[in-house]
């Protein structure tokens, strides 16, 4: 399992955190890889801070403990930076991807992060402009694909399309794809 990647997602209930985690899982399966996508369950209500986890590997994953040292942390809601230690356990060479209007250096200062690599994208703004609602998971997936190079943009876009067909109207699917691509373009990252 030397290519095991562990991802932790932070968001609030109702923001599509679990969907984002599942979507990545489906993409991994599309390429014949193995994955685990599981949430952290506590009191569940809209707006409560929630965490979800994804493991990805080209080999079967038998580990069933929680993710303690993620390679990537994705924060879908910027307000969580103030209340949740989102960077806990982040590996030294790990990536922290945050939905925020702030630049990476600012985020690093704000949370006092040493190590890792910070990437930011204003997914909320993109979502509102392209989709008309502040559901940030699709743009965040675009930023994710671009920042981590774990998946091809087109690979994830195709998976998004499959995921949404039949569930939402075609023009809304296209809006989501637009938001996805735009975030991939606009994501900023610190140089390694």
């Amino acid at each position: 399992m030397s290519d095991l990647i562990e991802i932790r997602w932070h968001g609030r209930g109702g923001q599509g955190v679990v969907t984002a985690s599942k979507l990545l899982a489906e993409t991994a399966m599309g390429r014949g890889h193995y994955f685990q996508a599981f949430p952290d369950y506590g009191p569940e209500r809209m707006g409560a801070p929630i965490r979800a986890f994804t493991r990805l590997s080209s080999q079967p994953i038998t580990l069933h403990s929680q993710v303690e040292e993620p390679d990537i942390v994705v924060v879908l809601d910027p307000t969580l930076l103030a209340t949740v230690s989102v960077a806990d356990g982040l590996k030294d060479k790990g990536i922290l991807l945050v939905n925020t209007t702030r630049a990476p250096a600012e985020v690093r200062r704000a949370i006092g992060l040493a190590g890792g690599r910070v990437c930011t994208v204003d997914a909320s703004h993109i979502a509102i402009e392209e989709i008309g609602r502040e559901i940030t998971n699709t743009p965040m997936l675009g930023a994710f694909a671009q920042a981590t190079h774990l998946f091809d943009i087109e690979e994830v876009a195709a998976e998004l399309r499959t995921w949404f067909s039949g569930k939402i109207k075609p023009d809304l699917i296209e809006a989501n794809i637009r938001a996805f691509r735009r975030a991939a373009q606009e994501v900023q990252g610190e140089d390694l």
Partner: protein, 394 residues
């Protein structure tokens, strides 16, 4: 042709249920099994199964309805967890003693109190004397495979006992993983049609189920149950052999890197997967660690376990429940394994690690600690402490 799908453990079990298409499902929701019966309800609503879905008002009613439907001559399924299982406790014994081949998905969760929805084995351990066959599953794939095999095991004329298929609450029930779903027709052919032996609905041969049996007959009925479950290991292995046609191998337990090991951990369900990672890591360091993952808890494969473990220099059992007030306040797996090994003349240093109660996470680092202790025990022959509580805050 199989397909690969991204499914949670619960969804995988629901899929198996769809493919089996039981006559009756009587169930009541409880976290963390709810998504199983919810998904199955979708299948019913979408006309993908012919199942009569009885939405009962409690788990006690669920199992009661299952017993009635089974006695009538139906193939019956249900699902529950923890306090839901506890609520149907009296009917579990009735299901087994009335020889109803009911198949139940049991998603393991802690028994209250305090109120806890997370993974723990207290629920299944509480039914260990009920007469049910109990299968444990490491992940969603195993839960799916076990559920399919459970139907054949339960309905075998030499057995005719209900079967509980366990998997860890949240850890595998809610973890979406890559699951191989077999062809519908292949699964259907494997489970076949239920041939009830003495159905109540056979009006040409009226009969009585669930009669009274006073002190002049009760004992003989229990002896019959014992005989039936004694046939189960043979039947379980026969069904597993047939199941190889799906490309998977099952036994009474799985021995992982055990044959040439000097020490081993014995554990059930998802923690076996995490332990597997630790074993591989230790093997890379040249340490001869092994793992025994228990699949069949009831009937307890005592002799086979003694044979598999007899060559080791030290063994640790990991128990995700505790039998409060038992000897040394140990866990039930440990208590049974000690008895099994002793009975078969196997004497070796053995310890118990109770862990993960109420969903407390267990990480590779902690399991590595267990192995390091085992290597010490193997070297010195000394046991520091028979029963320890791993991961509790002192």
């Amino acid at each position: 042709m199989s397909t690969f799908e991204a499914l949670s453990g619960n969804e995988a079990v629901a899929t198996a249920m769809r493919q089996i298409n039981p006559d009756v499902m009587a169930a009541y929701p409880i976290t963390p099994q709810t998504s199983t019966i919810q998904r199955f309800a979708d299948f019913c609503a979408d006309g993908l199964v012919d199942t009569e879905y009885v939405t009962v008002e409690s788990e006690h009613s669920a199992m009661s309805a299952c017993v009635g439907a089974s006695a009538a001559g139906s193939r019956v399924m249900t699902a529950t967890s923890a306090n839901g299982l506890a609520l149907m406790w009296e009917v579990l014994y009735i299901a087994a003693s009335n020889r109803c081949p009911i198949v139940m998905s049991l998603v393991n969760r802690a028994l209250s109190g305090p109120i806890n929805i997370h993974c723990d084995h207290a629920d299944v351990m509480g039914m260990r004397d009920s007469g049910w066959i109990i299968l444990m599953s490491e992940n969603g794939q195993e839960a799916y495979d076990n559920l399919i095999q459970a139907v054949r095991i339960a309905e075998h004329p030499d057995v005719l006992l209900p079967v509980a298929v366990c998997q860890d609450g949240f850890i595998t029930s809610h973890s979406i993983e890559r699951i191989e779903i077999y062809d519908d027709a292949q699964v259907k052919a494997f489970v076949g049609t239920y041939q009830p032996r003495w159905p109540l609905l056979d009006l040409d041969a009226p009969k009585t189920h669930g009669a009274v049996g006073f002190s002049d007959y009760y004992y003989e009925h229990k002896r019959q149950q014992v005989e039936a479950i004694a046939q189960a290991p043979r039947v379980i292995l026969e069904v597993a052999e047939e199941f190889q046609s799906f490309g998977r191998d099952y036994g009474l337990f799985e021995s992982y890197r055990l044959e040439d090991a000097t020490v081993a951990v014995v554990v059930a369900n998802s923690t076996a997967g995490t332990a597997r990672v630790v074993v591989d890591r230790l093997r890379e360091e040249g340490r001869k660690a092994g793992l025994l993952k228990l699949r069949v808890f009831r009937p307890f494969p005592a002799r086979e376990l003694a044979d598999a473990l007899g060559h080791l220099e030290a063994v640790a059992v990991m128990d995700r429940s505790v039998s409060i007030g038992a000897m040394q306040n140990a866990g039930p797996l440990f208590l049974e394994l000690v008895a099994a090994l002793t009975l078969h003349g196997v004497r070796l240093p053995m310890v118990d690690y109770v862990f993960g109660l109420g969903g407390r996470d267990i990480v590779p680092r902690e399991i590595e600690g267990v192995y390091r202790e085992l290597f010490q025990m193997a070297e010195t022959g000394q046991v520091r402490q028979a029963v320890s509580y791993l991961g509790v805050r002192e």
